[in-house]
C-alpha cells in the first residue's frame, strides 16, 4: 500500500489549510474523511435528496434502494449472516443504550450478572451500571492489568473475588473465564479495542472467541464495542459468535451521526423496539399497533439518510484502498518509531503493554511526570499538533491505573512518520516550557 498516495485522498490535509502545520493525532476521537465520502454526501444532497421507505416517486425509490444497499454492504463488511441483522443508529453510544433499553431492561432479572471491563468506554459501562441498578442485577467489573492485560474480577461491592487471573493466552484465559462466567451471567459487555489500552485481544482474537463460547455455554450473551476496531482490522461477527456488536461511522472514515448495531438474528424475537413512531410500524390503530420485521422494526423516524450513504462510501473506500495487513504493519512501524523517540526523551511514561502496543495498535497513551496532560495538549495545540488529553471517557480505568489524565496519540491510515517527528519535537518543547524550575 502506498500510504502517501492514500493521504492525498483526504482533502483536509491539503495545502489550502490556513495553518501550514497541521498534525492530526486524534483519529480515535474522530477520523478524517476521504474525498469519496465527502462527495457521496454532497452528491446525495445535490442530486438525490429524498426520504426513504416513504415516497413512491423516482427519487424516493432510488434513495430507498441506495439506503438498503448500504445495509447489505455493512452486513458483508462485518460478516453478518444477513442484512436484517444490521440496524442503523446515531452511533455506538446509541446502539448500546438501545440494547440496554430494548433488551436488557426486559430480560435482565434480579440476581443476573452483567460483566463489564474496567477498560470499557463509559458508553459500554454506564448503561449496564444503570440496568443493574434498575433491575437489581449484579454488575461485575473485570479489571485489566495495564502491564500484561491480565483479567481479574471484582463484584459491584468492590470486594475482591479470589478468582485466578487470565493471562494473555487462550488456555489460561479459558480457565479463568470458567470461574468468572457462571450460570448467573446474563450479559458480557467488552471492547474489541480499548480506546486507552489499544488492542487488548491481540491479532488472533482466540481469547475473545473463547470468552464468547464460554458465555454461550451458560446461556449468556455478549455485546462487543467495536468502535475503535472497525476500519482498522477484519471484523467477522459470525466467526466471533457475537450477539450484539456496535460501532460508529465517524471513526471509520465515514460521516458523524451514524452507527451500526448488529443484532444476531437469534435474538430478534427478544429485542423490542427501542423507539416507536414512524417507519418501524406495520400498522397503527388507536389502541394497538404492529411492528415491522427486523431491521425496520428497530429504526424509528427518518434516518440520517445522507450519512448512511456516506457510510456506504466509507466502506467502499476501505474495501478498495486499505489492506488490513499492510495497515497493521504501518501502525507497527509508526508506533515503534514513536516509542523509540519517547524512550530517548526518558520523561514520558507509556500506559499499557509495550509489546502489544508496538505490534500494531493505533492508540497509545502517555504521561509526563509533574506535567498535566491538559497543559501538554494545550502546548502541543499551540504548535499545530492535535492530540487528546484527559480520561478519554474511561474513568473507571483511570481510577484503577491511578492516573487523572493522560495524553492519547492515535493513528489512522493517513498518519505519517513526519507526524510523529512533529509530535516528538513539540512534546520536547512542551516539557522544557512546562517543567517547573
Amino acid at each position: 500500500m502506498d500510504f502517501k498516495r492514500l493521504r492525498a485522498d483526504f482533502p483536509i490535509f491539503n495545502e489550502k489549510r490556513p495553518s501550514p502545520k497541521y498534525v492530526y493525532l486524534d483519529s480515535a476521537s474522530t477520523s478524517h474523511k476521504p474525498q469519496a465520502v465527502i462527495d457521496a454526501l454532497t452528491d446525495f444532497y445535490l442530486q438525490k435528496n429524498a426520504s426513504v421507505h416513504r415516497g413512491v416517486y423516482d427519487g424516493a425509490e432510488s434513495a430507498t434502494i441506495a439506503y438498503e444497499e448500504v445495509r447489505q454492504k455493512v452486513a458483508a463488511f462485518i460478516g453478518a449472516a444477513c442484512s436484517s441483522e444490521i440496524v442503523f443508529t446515531p452511533g455506538t453510544t446509541a446502539g448500546i443504550n438501545f440494547i440496554a433499553g430494548a433488551w436488557a431492561s426486559k430480560n435482565m432479572m434480579p440476581g443476573d450478572e452483567i460483566l463489564v471491563t474496567q477498560a470499557d468506554h463509559h458508553a459500554n459501562f454506564l448503561p449496564w451500571q444503570r440496568i443493574a441498578q434498575e433491575r437489581q442485577a449484579i454488575l461485575r467489573v473485570l479489571s485489566i492489568s495495564a502491564e500484561n492485560y491480565m483479567i481479574s474480577c471484582t463484584n459491584q461491592a468492590h470486594e475482591s473475588v479470589d478468582h485466578n487471573v487470565a493471562e494473555y493466552c487462550i488456555d489460561a484465559a479459558c480457565r479463568a473465564f470458567k470461574n468468572i462466567v457462571t450460570e448467573r451471567t446474563k450479559l458480557i459487555a467488552i471492547p474489541l479495542v480499548s480506546n486507552v489500552l489499544g488492542d487488548i485481544w491481540g491479532d488472533n482474537t482466540g481469547t475473545l472467541k473463547a470468552l464468547i463460547s464460554r458465555a454461550h455455554e451458560v446461556g449468556a450473551f455478549v455485546l462487543i464495542d467495536a468502535a475503535q476496531a472497525v476500519g482498522h482490522q477484519v471484523i467477522n461477527v459470525q466467526e466471533l459468535g457475537a450477539d450484539f456488536v456496535v460501532f460508529s461511522g465517524h471513526k471509520m472514515l465515514g460521516p458523524t451521526g451514524v452507527g451500526v448495531l448488529y443484532i444476531n438474528k437469534k435474538l430478534h424475537a427478544q429485542v423490542e423496539p427501542y423507539q416507536v413512531g414512524g417507519g418501524m410500524v406495520f400498522s397503527a390503530a388507536e389502541h394497538e399497533s404492529r411492528w415491522q420485521m427486523p431491521p425496520h422494526k428497530f429504526e424509528a423516524g427518518t434516518p440520517p439518510v445522507a450519512s448512511i450513504i456516506g457510510l456506504g462510501a466509507a466502506i467502499d473506500y476501505i474495501s478498495e484502498r486499505i489492506d488490513y495487513d499492510s495497515l497493521r504493519l504501518h501502525y507497527a512501524l509508526l508506533m515503534s518509531y514513536l516509542v523509540e523517540e519517547l524512550a530517548l526523551m526518558q520523561q514520558p511514561v507509556i500506559i499499557g503493554n509495550l509489546h502489544y502496543i508496538i505490534s500494531g495498535s493505533h492508540i497509545i497513551n502517555i504521561m509526563v511526570r509533574n506535567i498535566h496532560a491538559h497543559d501538554l495538549a494545550g502546548y502541543l495545540a499551540s504548535e499545530g499538533v492535535a492530540v487528546r488529553a484527559g480520561h478519554h471517557c474511561a474513568q473507571p480505568l483511570a481510577h484503577a491505573l491511578g492516573y487523572e489524565a493522560t495524553l492519547r496519540i492515535s493513528f489512522h491510515a493517513y498518519t505519517t512518520r513526519e507526524d510523529i517527528d512533529q509530535f516528538v519535537g513539540a512534546l520536547k518543547n512542551a516539557c522544557v516550557h512546562l517543567g517547573k524550575l
Partner: protein, 131 residues
C-alpha cells in the same frame, strides 16, 4: 486557541504561586475538583467588614488551574465580597489575559467557583448580607 502558554505572567504565577496554602483558622473552607481532568482546588479565607481579610488557595492540577488560583487570590486580597460574588468567567479570562475554549475554561474557573461557594456558605451561616 491562543498560545497562552507563552504568557509570562501566567507562567510566573504557575512557577512561583502566591497565596498558596491553607489557613489554620478560617471563616470558610471549600474543596472541589473537576473529575474530567483531575484538577483540585481548596480555598480557605477569613472575612472582616464584608471584605476578604485573608485568602489562600491550595490548587493541584494543570497550569491554568494553579495560575488562576494564584492570580485570583492576589486580586481578591482585601476585596469586597459583593464584588467577588459578581465576578464572572469573562473576568477570569481578562485576569488571565487569554481566551479559552470551554474545556480549558473549566480549569481556570475552578478557583472562582470554590471562592464564591465559600463566601455563599459563610453568608448563610453568619447571616451576612451580600449586597
Amino acid at each position: 486557541m491562543s498560545n497562552f502558554l507563552y504568557q509570562d505572567e501566567l507562567m510566573d504565577h504557575y512557577r512561583y504561586p502566591r497565596n498558596r496554602g491553607e489557613l489554620a483558622v478560617y471563616d470558610f473552607r471549600v474543596d472541589d475538583h473537576n473529575p474530567s481532568c483531575g484538577d483540585r482546588v481548596s480555598v480557605t479565607g477569613t472575612i472582616k467588614n464584608k471584605s476578604i481579610e485573608q485568602l489562600l488557595f491550595m490548587p493541584q492540577g494543570c497550569v491554568l488551574s494553579q495560575a488562576a488560583a494564584s492570580m485570583l487570590a492576589e486580586r481578591c486580597q482585601g476585596e469586597g465580597i459583593s464584588v467577588i460574588m459578581a465576578l464572572t468567567r469573562d473576568d477570569i479570562m481578562q485576569m488571565l489575559g487569554i481566551e479559552l475554549g470551554p474545556t480549558r475554561l473549566k480549569c481556570a474557573l475552578l478557583c472562582l467557583q470554590v471562592l464564591q461557594e465559600g463566601i455563599r456558605q459563610y453568608s448563610l451561616r453568619s447571616g451576612l448580607q451580600i449586597d
